[in-house]
Symmetry: C2
Subunit: 441 residues, 2 copies
């Protein structure tokens, strides 16, 4: 192949210099020769937008003149070709990126909250400016999952995406499973070890996983799904008893994000997208994803079952994904090309959680007398919920019934639980948890 | 976004109509609406090259006039835009693809043997014709591994790729592990179940895995690695005793393909690429990849450890990867763009297997008398091989020494084994096997 003349450097604006931004800078500096060879032109840092100037960032080895507090000015600056956004949050990040994209700058973003709430606005701005919008780092950090969904599986029909996409909650649940600890105890330990933030709400209430679920569902089903469309339940109500009950049936409790394709009664299709804790059989590949690791399990008609596994958070893994995207948009820029944006052409109806098909594991304290099982079974039958297994534990005053259902709508299952609570012979509904991954039992 | 005018169909030539070719045709027909939406133009089958005409292929629902035995003529035909090659083998596939690429047709190939032996010739032809060459299906079928290596991880420095990339051998070894069967017994069962071909040589001798190792190493290290550069050892010598011995130390035997980056004494870098059975600790994520599944484990400086898992063979999974690539090259064609080809710019030296750093598990029948361990240990020390663990099993005439070494060059380890064979107190070298995944112990 003929030697091509050296290309002018592509100039990169970096918005944000926290944990991820610093690692991006470090990769751009330490990998610069390889990046030049892979792209066909050098990448040059045009500037780094920071919240506060004057901090000592000498360890990065960057000319102090490159730091600025004017993120918007940097993002739209004439000489900037590519913009990296690792600030997070909806505003002002959205305004900066919209203006940068409209001005023709390609954007690499790790901002899951923004993409899940209003990815459409960014996509439209990218179309107006003829620019690329890449965001591999927004879900599961360095695990390549956006690109496989956006490109590799485009010849196939994806039926379900199930993910463990939040490291904090996975660490907490893994600890509860390993030690028998309760939620609060496990959370305290996670906080001490730096796996949970001082305010863990976004993680433990499932907001973080919900944003990622929206992004994955949009790509998998070519349908616009926003964070508001995702049914969300966190792990704060998961008890040591739930985890022990899961163990007893050969399962483990995981916070899952699930995006499923359904065929409706009229032959049309719809999707359900939800985040909630669920019991997963230990034979399911996701059940062995422990500690702070992430994994995404994809099912497609032709490809079958695929799993993507790795570290889903952290400065270096996230920066790896950002710089990988940067190489792609830089190559496109040099080729004068643009990657066709994902299109929400399928525009499938989004189901409410009530319509989602799921299974329940229900544990009841019951009076130990004749006819209990028959009354309980009648409550299920009355809502058209079919029982898969019943297990009676203990006797006398400590009698517990553990029931696992077949698949039914969440609405029917929730109504069944309400009916059980009203039965005089049911002293207490000890735990109710969804069961997933049934096909692996 | 404005409605764009309907684009003319892109015409696809399909070379080969075996298991994979038929599934490609099926996907193109059943997914045609989705494919048109994802690409922005319809795909139209221009022709299907078959070895023998006149066979009944009515079940495909294809106009019989589209079948031809002139594969070359079809591949270079004026109206053809894209060529899918699912024939396999070096020639005549290479000539067809070279001419098609030079004529500007983008190519999607599942031909691992050709890509591993002479990918460079295809890349050059693609550069001449300004065409794309995609081959996700050549390694691990539908598991997206080529695109992550080729694109997602481009911002990172990959240090090692370890894969289980042959389903036949993984099925055989999984059976040996589960049932204690010997190699021949497990092979017979695999043949009966259709997991092994009538002539299983390419699988059990590691040729298939070797070709995939060459392709993965080339992408991971930006260095031209061909099948001839890969050290290759099959699984025919793996005994039930080896598998039992692995079990005893909490490991399992897997046929691994390994591509590693090394830093040489002079500060330069080199790579070693090899395929051989090895003991892997059961705590390593690859150890739980059972039956005919495939998985590729990637380690990179910033991303850390990633794993990609799924069905690595079969008509439908392979076709999913082929059609996913077809969408990518079709989009490029419409955009007038071309994906920058992977470049072997790093051109790292390829180590011989003698230089590869590995660990050995050695099992010896020894005479049970004083001083045995000291003589054996001296043989290791004489070749600068450090011993990690020694375990003595049995007593008297049945005394067995099981030794696991620390990392050493394969040459030093092989020389140590030769020296052990020459020791009068060593009655028999029962088994010698490499040990991998040590960092997971």
């Amino acid at each position: 192949m003929s030697k091509e003349p050296a290309k002018r450097p592509l100039k990169v604006a970096i918005l944000g210099c926290g944990t991820v931004g610093r690692e991006v800078v470090r990769l751009l500096l330490t990998q610069s020769d390889d990046l030049r060879a892979r792209i066909g032109a050098p990448l040059e840092i045009a500037g780094i937008a920071v919240r506060r100037s004057g901090r000592d960032r000498g360890d990065l080895g960057i000319d102090p003149a490159l730091f600025t507090t004017d993120a918007h000015g940097l993002a739209v600056r004439e000489d900037v070709d590519l913009v990296v956004e690792v600030v997070g949050g909806i505003e002002p990040a959205r305004s900066w990126l919209v203006d940068a994209l409209k001005a023709g700058k390609s954007v690499v973003s790790a901002n899951k909250a923004l993409l899940a709430e209003d990815g459409a606005t960014l996509q439209e701005a990218a179309a107006v400016g003829g620019a690329d919008l890449y965001y591999e780092a927004a879900v599961a950090a360095a695990i390549p999952i956006i690109r496989p969904l956006r490109e590799s599986l485009h010849g196939d029909r994806i039926t379900r995406v199930t993910g463990i996409v939040n490291g904090t909650t996975n660490y907490i649940l893994s600890q509860m499973d390993a030690t028998g600890a309760g939620f609060n105890e496990a959370l305290d330990e996670a906080t001490e070890l730096g796996y949970a933030e001082a305010d863990p709400t976004a993680d433990v209430e499932g907001f973080d996983a919900g944003a990622k679920a929206a992004i994955l569902a949009s790509l998998a089903f070519h349908t616009r799904v926003t964070a508001a469309d995702v049914y969300r339940e966190g792990i704060t109500e998961v008890t040591a008893a739930d985890v022990a009950s899961a163990k007893a049936m050969g399962s483990t409790v995981k916070l899952l994000c699930i995006a499923e394709r359904h065929v409706d009664a009229d032959g049309g299709e719809s999707v359900s997208v939800r985040v909630h804790p669920a019991m997963l059989p230990r034979t399911h590949p996701l059940s062995s994803v422990g500690d702070a690791f992430n994994a995404v399990f994809v099912e497609a008609d032709a490809a079958g079952q695929l799993m993507f596994y790795g570290r889903g958070a952290g400065g270096a893994p996230t920066a790896s994904a950002v710089v990988g995207d940067l190489v792609a948009v830089a190559r496109n820029r040099l080729a004068g090309a643009r990657t066709t944006a994902e299109s929400p052409y399928a525009d499938l109806r989004i189901r409410t959680v009530a319509e989602a098909l799921t299974r329940y594991h229900i544990s009841l304290d019951v009076a130990d007398k004749a006819g209990v099982l028959s009354e309980v079974a009648a409550a299920f039958a009355g809502h058209d919920v079919s029982i898969s297994t019943v297990r009676q534990e203990g006797r006398g005053d400590d009698a517990t019934l553990v029931i696992v259902t077949h698949t039914a709508t969440d609405a029917a299952l929730a109504a069944t639980v309400d009916a059980l609570r009203d039965l005089p012979i049911v002293r207490n509904v000890v735990s109710v948890m969804r069961v997933e991954g049934g096909e692996f039992k």
